[in-house]
């Protein structure tokens, strides 16, 4: 039985309770106290001591590739009819004002914010986990709950797993040298409890459970959103044909994966080893030929 997370970003309110609950349960230290200037995100990324991370992405309306409903100038907002009815559709509430350079600025009184995306990122516990495949000591295993788990007593800190993760999740802890990442709260699952982040999430943006159930629920959720007109909703990490396979922690997103810092089509570095090896051999052969030729020329 494999368990995992379904993180629905349409329900996320950016409270970061998951991040704090994770650090508290797993007794992870704070990572320093500096303002990043990146919206409300001051922890930056997942790491050896940050196993849940809430990303905040501000997407200005003027940068969204949406049809512009009106080009009313600043000083002349559209006048509603006498009874207060505004005959233009809901989309008309965004008034883009294109100036000569083609840059867009919004009408005064409308903040230029199309979306403020919030997403709680976490280890994906991939079906084909790069870290697990790369680990030479057998420290990284797939445990009985289907999670990719780093056994701290076996890990020797070689770091091979770090570049093998296409999502940049696993990292070495600088003071003890070993690799750390989300354990899917192995200890809590052992006691029949859900992981701390899912437990703390006030809006059920993070749901923990059996993967088959979660996937069914997630597909239904996407269908519901589509029927409500939110057609930009889609699942990331499920039903996709990528090298990492289905993700045990998958997401419902409303913008392109890159907006959230996720790869469009994650690939495993080790899948490139064969090709890389061949390319190396070919290059060596080519170089040998060239050097042989030049050697021969110099001898002449």
């Amino acid at each position: 039985m494999a368990n995992g997370f379904f993180t629905d970003t349409t329900l996320c309110i950016g409270c970061k309770a998951c991040e704090v609950a994770c650090k508290q349960w797993n007794q992870l230290p704070a990572d320093g106290y500096a303002l990043t200037g990146m919206s409300y995100d001051n922890t930056g990324s997942l790491g050896a001591t940050t196993w849940r991370h809430v990303a905040f992405i501000e997407v200005p309306e003027s940068k969204k590739r949406l049809p512009m409903a009106s080009t009313a100038p600043v000083t002349q907002p559209p006048v509603p009819s006498a009874n207060g009815d505004n005959n233009t559709g809901p989309g008309a509430l965004k008034f883009l004002n294109i100036d000569g350079d083609g840059g867009a600025s919004l009408q005064i009184g409308f903040p230029d914010i199309g979306q403020w995306l919030m997403m709680s990122d976490v280890c994906k516990h991939c079906t084909n986990a790069g870290c697990l495949q790369a680990c030479p000591t057998g420290a990284i295993i797939r445990n009985e709950f289907g999670a990719v788990y780093v056994q701290p007593d076996i890990c020797n800190g070689c770091g091979y797993c770090v570049p093998s993760c296409p999502f940049g999740v696993v990292a070495l802890q600088h003071d003890d040298g070993r690799a750390y990442k989300c354990t899917l709260c192995y200890d809590r699952q052992k006691d029949g409890l859900e992981p701390a982040c899912a437990k703390a999430c006030p809006t059920d943006s993070i749901i923990f459970g059996n993967l088959d159930d979660l996937k069914m629920r997630a597909r239904q959720r996407v269908a519901d959103l589509h029927s409500r007109g939110e057609t930009d909703a889609y699942l990331y990490g499920v039903d996709e044909n990528t090298e990492v396979g289905d993700l045990n922690a998958f997401f419902l997103l409303k913008a392109e994966p890159e907006a959230y810092g996720l790869p469009q089509a994650p690939t495993l570095p080790q899948n490139r080893v064969g090709r890389g090896y061949l390319a190396g051999l070919a290059m060596a052969a080519v170089l040998s030929v060239f050097s042989a030729i030049s050697l021969r020329r110099s001898q002449h």
Binding site: E19, K23, Q24, A30, Y33, P77, I108, P111
Partner: protein, 917 residues
């Protein structure tokens, strides 16, 4: 709401999933806006115009809930023809006394029917005067006169009717006015007005949620009033899914208001006796605070039971139940005034428990300096917070501070038992998980042992003045020997109330008596302890999942926690049924009248005993009120019961008057009594505003108390040095003054630095880039911060002028893991005239690039300079008289202060230079 109440916001998200529309109106685009269906930017402090605009839209287009408005509000009441509104008087109401800057409310009153006889306050067994006479009604010392019912015009056409006055009053709050004053684009405003109107009526309800962004203004109370008027017009009060919800700012701050910790209230919203009204004996006190009609008629029972709870066997009829032991208030002891009195050396000692004045206090620097004038100060907190370090604040030499200071370690929530009362008035019990570390103890421990030792100290005194201490009932069993923690079961029993004879819990406040046979520490909490002795606040049984309105199993989660009063989840829920007692609609039914003949078994039911009315209304129809909530109405009072124009208490109300706490039994669209600044809300600009009031000639609230004084002056009106509008707020990641979050690494890393949110336009104007250091300045001080440049902020077009707003979180101070300048140093201590709230959510400031250049203020502030006018007089003299009227731009002396601290002036002039560079 997502920002500051993320856990409560889960229910909003759930409602959204079920089709509710979430509208968010805020100066900033926040995490709430990100999840809302409609977001509208607005200018801080203009909510009366925004909501007034919706009221106008509703009235002009006849979209109000007609039957509800006619039957359940005072719309048809006729107002004195001498009443004049701000339309006629340039922004003032009739009765304004310019000299005292107060209103005389005489012209605001209703026209009432003449009564044939004077019915007076005549309670059976209250007090000394009564006990002298075995029977009959003493006429001495009694007033509380019953006024006849107001005259009505059911057609709502009379120009003196509340409805017509309301319609006329709000007619100038047009969509154009909203756009002009709030900066909210007209079409966006109209979208919101339509959505609210369409989502109200028989089948639908709309709820309003607000927090201190609504209240911390010079017109804060009237802003809530505007929402109340709107909700009454739409029929959204007393019905499921409706209401106005005050999202309280701390865990159980609702509880601290109920029990209370306010200077002018006794537990359960009973007034504290006042020297000014000669409340020297119980009868006089009751006369002044009692209402002849409505539920407050029962007030004598609550005050006598309270005195019995406090003074036990010493409280007897012949000594007025020890009423004379209560302190009589003889002036203004509101929060700000406390610090002025401290500055003047008139307050000698202070307990600061769970409050971080050095960061959360308004004009925090002023308040910290006031603490330095105390003889003694006790600070109880989890850490050595800023408030505990006033004696070495900003480089002060502790040797120059004469205050004896004690820092007492406090237990945090998981280290003690107790209850939280939430926004919904629901008490939820929490159990202790671990012992507190070291000497840390609960508040109950501290207060109990302090009281015990005081009693010990005064035990042998024979002085009369020491009797209040000697006679106080202060014995509590000790529950945990090793900590000496008192047993809270004894405290909760006292709060909930018991019969004196056998100390058995009363079932509810309806059982409280005025003859001294019951004791109750807080009447509204009565019933929290069930008759079997169990603590209902500790109930944790939710309704089954999926069970909703209309389902027989649905109980409004009545077995989860305990909601005062009487475990009632929705107040005034009689209004959820029509005047005849039938639900307005099947979809929104909550309580209804069930006549006896309809169903064989009308009486009984487990909700009976404690919740029944304690009045002597005789039901003339048999039946009872039933439903999915505890009915907020006398259980057997038929909807067809007529009102008794001569009657007292609940008898004065008809069976279709749901607002039982109101004297007239109806919701008040118009308030003839009780408000200091007008019977209807009218927009006045914030005390510090970049524009003239576009609505009326009157610029500011005419009865606002501004308290201009040394170290607490207002920015000169329209000063170009302070052009930006600033509003403060909290971030999800921190808690208020940071006293519970800036010491926690996991929270501190999430928001590690003081910042301000500004729009790209403002950033360009000041020459700032994202992440730059900047300094915010005004006459109260300087604060350095980083800037977050974000398109979530936008400038607004106000009365043709571009106005920039700056968002300023206020969590930081000089202690803890993460530190920063304290934004509240920039805010003046002013007082809204009704509840004395300050105007923290709207003030003006300047912004310049770079870090703060001046050092913290000198430790010994000297007198005035050229910037602020020295009005002479004793430093720190009370200055209530200074209020802003119509502001003249040319008159800078409109900022009168008693001298001015050097640093204040220097900062101001420094700012001027910086801006001219």
């Amino acid at each position: 709401m997502a920002e500051c109440h993320p856990v409560a916001y889960r229910f909003v998200m759930e409602a959204k999933e079920r089709g509710a529309k979430i509208i968010h109106v805020d100066p900033r685009f926040t995490r709430t806006s990100a999840t809302a269906n409609i977001y509208a930017p607005t200018r801080t402090g203009t909510d009366i115009v925004f909501l007034g605009g919706i009221i106008n839209y509703i009235l002009q287009n006849e979209l109000y809930f007609k039957e509800y408005v006619l039957s359940y509000t005072n719309a048809s009441f006729l107002v004195n023809e001498d009443f004049k509104g701000p339309d006629q008087l340039g922004g003032l109401f009739s009765g304004y006394d310019a000299k005292d800057q107060k209103y005389d409310r005489n012209t605001w009153q209703y026209d009432v029917q003449e009564l044939q006889q004077n019915t007076r306050f005549a309670q059976g067994s209250i007090g000394r005067n009564r006990s002298d006479e075995a029977e009959g009604h003493s006429q001495q010392e009694q007033s509380g006169t019953r006024v006849g019912p107001p005259l009505r015009d059911e057609s709502l056409q009379d120009p003196q009717s509340v409805f017509q006055i309301l319609k006329k009053h709000f007619s100038r709050y047009t969509p154009e006015m909203v756009e002009d004053v709030c900066g909210t684009p007209k079409e966006l405003f109209m979208e919101i007005a339509r959505t609210v109107a369409e989502n109200s009526g028989r089948d639908k309800t709309t709820a309003f949620c607000y927090a201190v962004g609504f209240t911390q203004h010079s017109t804060g109370v009237q802003m809530i009033r505007t929402a109340a008027i709107l909700q009454l017009l739409l029929g959204n009060i007393g019905r499921p899914g409706g209401g106005i919800l005050a999202l309280r700012g701390h865990a159980t701050i609702q509880g601290s208001t109920d029990v209370p910790t306010l200077y002018n209230l006794l537990p359960g919203y009973l007034q504290i006796p006042s020297e000014n009204t000669d409340d020297y004996d119980l009868v006089k006190y009751i006369e002044h605070n009692w209402t002849a009609t409505g539920w407050w008629h029962n007030m004598p029972k609550y005050i006598v039971s309270l005195l019995k709870a406090w003074y036990g066997p010493h409280a007897r009829p012949e000594n007025d139940y020890c009423f004379h032991y209560l302190p009589k208030i003889n002036g203004d002891f509101s929060y700000n005034q406390m610090f002025y009195k401290m500055m003047e050396g008139r307050i000698k000692g202070m307990f600061i428990m769970g409050e971080n004045i050095g960061v959360g206090g308004i004009n925090a620097r002023f308040q910290m300096e006031a603490l330095q004038k105390l003889d003694w100060c006790v600070v109880r907190d989890l850490y050595e917070v800023e408030a505990g370090e006033f004696w070495k604040y900003e480089g002060r030499d502790p040797k120059t501070i004469g205050t004896e200071t004690f820092l007492m370690p406090a237990a945090i929530v998981a280290e003690k038992d107790g209850s939280f009362t939430n926004t919904q008035r629901m008490l939820q019990w929490h159990d202790k998980a671990v012992d507190p570390p070291g000497d840390a103890r609960s508040e109950t421990w501290f207060m109990y042992h302090l009281g015990r030792r005081l009693q010990e100290l005064y035990r042998d005194s024979t002085l009369d003045r020491d009797k209040p201490i000697q006679h106080l009932q202060w014995e509590l069993p000790i529950k945990e020997e090793h900590l000496q923690e008192p047993d809270l079961a004894a405290v909760t029993l006292e709060i909930s109330g018991y019969r004196v004879a056998d100390r058995k819990p009363v079932a509810g406040f309806a059982e409280l008596k005025e003859d001294g046979s019951t004791a109750c520490g807080c009447w509204i909490y009565s019933g929290m302890i069930a008759p079997d002795g169990s603590n209902r606040a500790a109930n944790r049984q939710a309704d089954p999942i999926g069970v909703g309105y209309g389902d027989p199993e649905f109980t409004n989660h009545s077995q989860w926690g305990y909601a005062w009063p009487a475990n009632r989840r929705i107040l005034y829920n009689r209004a959820s049924a029509d005047p005849e007692g039938k639900p307005w609609s099947e979809r929104k039914k909550l309580v209804w009248w069930q006549p006896e003949d309809q169903d064989g078994h009308p009486s009984g039911g487990e909700q009976a005993a404690g919740e029944q009315a304690g009045d002597n209304t005789t039901p003339d129809h048999n039946g009872k009120w039933v439903g999915n909530d505890v009915p907020d109405f006398p259980l057997n009072k038929s909807p067809f019961t007529p009102d008794d124009p001569q009657g007292m208490g609940m008898a004065a109300h008809s069976g279709s008057a749901p607002f039982i706490m109101m004297a007239d039994g109806v919701g008040q669209l118009y308030v003839p009594n009780g408000l200091a600044d007008g019977p209807l809300p009218s927009h006045y600009e914030p005390l510090e505003s970049p524009t003239h009031n576009p609505v009326y000639r009157q610029q500011n609230n005419p009865v606002e108390i501004t308290n201009n004084r040394k170290g607490n002056s207002l920015n000169p009106p329209f000063d170009p040095a302070f052009p930006y509008v600033v509003t403060t707020y909290r971030l999800t990641e921190h808690h208020t003054s940071g006293a519970m979050s800036r010491w926690v690494p996991w929270l501190s890393e999430l928001q590690p630095e003081q910042f301000a949110e500004i729009s790209p336009e403002l950033a360009a104007e000041v020459g700032l880039e994202n992440g730059d250091w900047a300094t915010m300045t005004n006459v109260r001080g300087e604060v350095e911060l980083r800037v977050l440049v974000t398109t979530r902020m936008t400038p607004l077009l106000i009365a043709g002028q571009k106005v920039h707003q700056i968002g300023l979180p206020y969590h930081f101070g000089f202690k803890g893991i993460v530190t920063g300048d304290t934004p509240n140093n920039l805010i003046a201590m002013t007082e809204e005239p009704n509840v004395r709230i300050h105007e923290a959510k709207s003030f003006t400031a300047g912004l310049r690039k770079g870090r703060r250049t001046i050092a913290p203020p000198p430790t010994d502030p000297t007198s005035s300079d050229n910037m602020v006018q020295n009005r002479g007089g004793e430093a720190g003299q009370l200055n209530h008289e200074v209020k802003l009227g119509v502001v003249d731009v040319t008159k800078h002396e409109n900022t009168p202060v008693d001298g001015g601290m050097t640093y204040t002036a220097r900062e101001a002039s420094g700012q001027g230079q910086a801006r001219s560079d």
